[in-house]
Amino acid sequence: MSDRRPRTPVRTLLIALVLCVPPFYLDAFWLRVGLFSVAAAIGAVGLSLLSGTAGQLSLGHAFFLAVGAYGYTWLAGEPGPGLPTAVAAVLAVLLAGAAGGLFSPVAGRVRGIYLGVATLALVFLGHHVLLTADSVTGGFNGRSVPPLRLGGFGFTAGEPELTVLGVPFGAEERLWYLALALLGLTWFTARGLLRSRPGRALAALRDSETAAAVLGVDVARHRAAAFVVSSMYAGTAGVLLALAFRRIVPDYFSLALSVDYLAMIVLGGLGSVAGATAGAVFVTALPLLLSRYADQLPLVAAPGTADGAVGPTEAARFLYGAAVVVVLLHAPDGLHGLTRRLRDRFRAARRSGPGSGPHARPSAPPIAPVRPEEHTP
C-alpha cells in the first residue's frame, strides 16, 4: 500500500509548501478569510478532542476563545502588565487552560445534555464580565490588540519593512505564516495526543464510563483534563483571532460562535483532526465568500437591490443550516468519513478491477459522537 501513496513526510512537505504560497498572490481579504479559518481550525481541533473524543458536549467554546483573546490583549497591553507580547501569548493560552480547569468541578460532575446547558452559562456569564470589567476588557468597544513581536520582528506592517520577491509583506502576510506554524503545531500535538495512552483513555470514557473505570481510568481526572487541553487550544485560537482582528469586541464571543464551533466539528466528523479543520474552513469561509461573490451567483440578490429576494447573508445561513442537517443524517461521520469512504471505494475499485464490489474493506462504523445516553426517567 505504501508505494501507491506518497509517504507521509513528503506529502506533508508538499502541502506545507503549497500553503506557503498564498501571501504572494492573494489580497488582504483572502488572507483574512484564511486567517479566520485557520484560527477556527485550531479552536475546532480543541473542541473535537473534548466533544468528539472525550464525549463531553460543550457550548462554552466561545468563552475560552475570549479568555485567550482578552488574556493576550490585557497581558501585552496598556492598561495591563504590558508584558513582552510573546510571553503574553503563551500566558494567555495557559490562562485559557486554567479557566478550563476552574470549570472542572462542574465538568467532572455534570453529564450529557446537562453539561451542554451548563457550558451555555459560561458564554452568558463571560459576556457579562466582558461588558462590565471595563478596566481589563475595555467594555463594549473592546480593545486594540497589540501586534505580536518576536525579537525585532513585528507581525505588523513596517516593523521592519519587508518585501519578499517584490511583494510587500504587511500584517496579513506575516500573520499567515504564524497561523500556519500554529496550525502545524496543533495538528502535531493533537494527533499525538489521540494516539497516546490518555487519548485512548478518553475514547474509552466516551464509550462507557463504567467500563473505563473498571479498566483503571481515573474518570474525574480525565474528564477535567480534557477540558483543560481543549481550552488551551481554544486559547491559542483566541490569540490568533485577536491578532487577525486587530481589535476585539465582546459581541463577537457570543453563543452563535459556540454553536458555529459545534457545527464545525460535526460537519467535519467528530473526533478527527482533519475533519475539524475541514469543518472550520467550511463554516468560516462560506458566509464570507458568498457575500463577496453575491453579485455573480444566480438566485442570490446583491445587497440592497431587490425586495424580498434572498440576500447573500441569508443564502449562507440556509446552506450552513442545511449542511448540518444533511451531513448528520446521511454521513454521521462528516466530511472526514465521507472522504475516507470515497478513498476506500476508489482504491478497492482500482485494486480489484472494475466490476467487483467496492467492499474490500468494511467501512469504519460511524463514530458514536458522544457517550450513550443515560436517560433520566
Binding site: 445534555i113 446537562y114 456569564l125 457579562h128 450552513y320 459522537p369 445516553e373 443515560e374 433520566t376
Partner: protein, 298 residues
C-alpha cells in the same frame, strides 16, 4: 413591601411564561432524549402565523391554526428528519445537533420575513391590568399563569393516565423492553413532538402580548432562558419545569428590582442571573432539582 410584592408577582408571571416553553423542552426530552434547539424558531413560527392570520381569522381562529400548524411542523421535523438518522447509541446527541441546523434554517427564513417589524398578535387582553390589593398585574400575564398551570396539569395527566403516557414512560425506562412490549416508539415520539410544537405556539402568544410590544425576530431567543429553567427542574419532569421556571422568573425579577443594591455584580446582572443560579444548582444536584440519576449501564 409593595415593591417586594410587585417583584414577586412579576416574577411569578414571567416564570409562568417560561414554564410554557420549558414544558415543551421536557416533553421532547422525555420522549426522545433530545434537547431541541429548534424550539425557539418553532415558537417564532407559531407567533408569526398568528400575526399574519389574526386580521382575517380573528385571534381565536389564528391561534387554533397556528397551534395546529406548529404541532404539525414539529411532528414532521421529528418524523422526516430526526428519525431518519442512525438510531444507534448517541443518536439523541446527533439529533440535538440536527435541531441546531433546523433552527438556523427556520430562523433565517422567519427573520427575513419579519425584518425589523414589530407584529401585533391581536390578542384580547390589550394593555389592560388588574389590581390585586396594592399591586397590579397585566391581564395577559394572569392569562399566562392560568394557561401554563392548565397546560402543565394536562401534560402531567397525559403522562400519568393515558396509554400514550404509559408508552412514553416505558420507553424512557428501557427502549428495548418497551419495543418488545409492543410500544410503537416512533409514533409515541412524534406525538410528543407535536405536543411540544403546540405548546411553543401557545407560548408565543404570551411572549408577544402586552408587556412586550409585539412579535419580533428575536422573540424566539426567550428559549435560551427556558433552557436553564428546564435543566434546573431536571429536564424530564413537568413539575420540575414549573419549579425551575418559577425559580428563574423570580430570580430575574428580584435581581432587576434590586439592581442598585447588587451593583457589585455589575449592572444588568438580572439577565445572566438565571445561568448563575443554574450552575450553582447543578453543582449540588448534577441532574437538576427533580431529576434522578440514571443508573450507569455497563
Amino acid at each position: 413591601m409593595t415593591g417586594l410584592l410587585d417583584d414577586l408577582l412579576g416574577g411569578l408571571a414571567l416564570g409562568a411564561v417560561y414554564a410554557l416553553v420549558a414544558l415543551g423542552f421536557v416533553v421532547i426530552f422525555k420522549a426522545s432524549g433530545v434537547l431541541s434547539f429548534a424550539h425557539g424558531s418553532l415558537l417564532l413560527f407559531g407567533g408569526y402565523l398568528i400575526a399574519v392570520l389574526h386580521d382575517d381569522l380573528g385571534f381565536a381562529g389564528a391561534l387554533a391554526v397556528a397551534v395546529l400548524a406548529t404541532a404539525l411542523l414539529a411532528g414532521a421535523l421529528d418524523r422526516l428528519l430526526l428519525q431518519r438518522g442512525d438510531p444507534g447509541p448517541g443518536a439523541a446527541h446527533v439529533q440535538t445537533i440536527v435541531t441546531i441546523g433546523v433552527d438556523i434554517v427556520l430562523l433565517t427564513e422567519l427573520s427575513r420575513r419579519i425584518g425589523g417589524d414589530l407584529l401585533p398578535l391581536g390578542d384580547p387582553w390589550g394593555d389592560a391590568v388588574t389590581g390585586l390589593g396594592p399591586v397590579t398585574v397585566a391581564d395577559s400575564r394572569l392569562a399566562a399563569i392560568v394557561v401554563s398551570a392548565v397546560s402543565i396539569a394536562s401534560v402531567f395527566a397525559l403522562f400519568r393516565y393515558t396509554r400514550w403516557g404509559l408508552s412514553l414512560r416505558a420507553a424512557g425506562e428501557d427502549v428495548e423492553a418497551a419495543a418488545l412490549m409492543g410500544v410503537r416508539l416512533s409514533r409515541v415520539r412524534t406525538l410528543a413532538w407535536c405536543l411540544a410544537g403546540g405548546l411553543a405556539a401557545l407560548a408565543a402568544v404570551f411572549l408577544a402580548a402586552f408587556p412586550a410590544p409585539g412579535l419580533e425576530r428575536t422573540t424566539g431567543q426567550i428559549a435560551l432562558k427556558a433552557f436553564p429553567a428546564a435543566v434546573l427542574g431536571g429536564m424530564a419532569s413537568p413539575v420540575g419545569a414549573l419549579a425551575g421556571s418559577l425559580l428563574i422568573g423570580l430570580t430575574e425579577a428580584l435581581v432587576a428590582g434590586h439592581q442598585s443594591e447588587l451593583s457589585l455584580l455589575g449592572e444588568g446582572f438580572a439577565d445572566v442571573a438565571p445561568y448563575a443560579v443554574m450552575v450553582l444548582v447543578l453543582l449540588v444536584r448534577p441532574t437538576g432539582l427533580f431529576g434522578t440519576r440514571g443508573a450507569a449501564r455497563v
